[in-house]
Symmetry: C2
Subunit: 191 residues, 2 copies
């Protein structure tokens, strides 16, 4: 018997993504978001959701571009800070000592020290209420060599963070559970 | 120096969510998706992305409703199977022995054995290319008592799966890294 928790956000896991953008003064800014996900394979797209009151909201709409820098667990404190402070009155890069790097293909900065970066041009925006969805077409992906195994992104090496809404806590990645398109074949082959 | 991986899906982590819907015959179906995320706090909304060729696509548009059942690691094989087979010619619930339960508040079924369920009415749909985004307003959430600690969802007890695109593998959740809105305060208090 399941317990009803009502109409609320209770989605697991959610990612910890840092949205990079330039404001009207050209100042690089970074904002942490757990509301986001992949939304299309071709063209490759992701969505991130941002409150209209955020500095990032105005910047992304004006520049039609953003990046998503994905922190590893080592940078959890910096990622958390990027979600606490506002770029309106703070230079968050200066505060944390992290490096804003200008993307070569979209008009937005990314966090140089984070192992994985997604470079997007703004494809669509949609106002939903408290948040607006920004759908970004992925124009490029950048990864640290240390996050790759045989040229492929390696979950354990990337060590991305997960966010638990109810616990207001970050978690790391655990063990491999199994291969996709493989574990389920035992049900598929009963014909 | 970062290595360019080009314009491709390389977002980490992505969730493993099972979309529940009724087809035109009233048959319950379940489809696994890793493309999805939260997209608004108020009204609470999530998005899932589905290829127009999928049986689920037609069902969700017709019924204007879907559920997201979140599997724990114990049910990784069933979740994987839900992503392999098509509901067009298979009763995936019958195959796996899992139970389709009719939601009491939206016109869609959920997976009875999975610990967390999100019940949605279709709010928006947007065609992007290979996938369409379905934005669902969360009308209700159901959780197993065993997934709660002091009435709150507990990441370790829920034990949701993560998907690694490059490795085509599922991973579990790891250890707590730290508290949100807390780890980053050391940078915030330098004023």
């Amino acid at each position: 018997m399941k317990k009803s928790l009502g109409p609320r956000i209770a989605a697991y896991p959610t990612p910890v993504w840092v949205i990079g953008s330039y404001d009207s003064q050209g100042k690089p800014n970074a904002m942490t978001a757990a509301w986001g996900g992949v939304c299309c394979s071709e063209p490759p797209c992701i969505q991130v959701s941002v409150r209209p009151s955020r500095h990032t909201y105005t910047s992304v709409l004006a520049r039609k571009a953003f990046t998503v820098s994905i922190p590893d667990a080592v940078h959890a404190a910096e990622a958390d800070y990027f979600g606490i402070a506002s770029g309106q009155n703070t230079d968050k890069f200066a505060r944390t000592g992290l490096t804003p790097v200008r993307s070569e293909i979209v008009d937005a900065p990314y966090v140089g020290e984070f192992p994985l970066v997604i470079e997007c041009r703004l494809l669509h925006s949609m106002e939903l209420g408290a948040h607006a969805i920004f759908v970004g077409e992925i124009m490029g992906t950048l990864a640290d060599e240390e996050a790759l195994t045989d040229g492929k992104l390696d979950m354990a090496k990337l060590s991305p963070l997960l966010y638990s809404v109810d616990q207001r806590s970050y978690f790391g990645v655990g063990q491999v559970v199994g291969k996709a398109y493989s574990l389920g074949l035992k049900y598929h082959k009963q014909d």
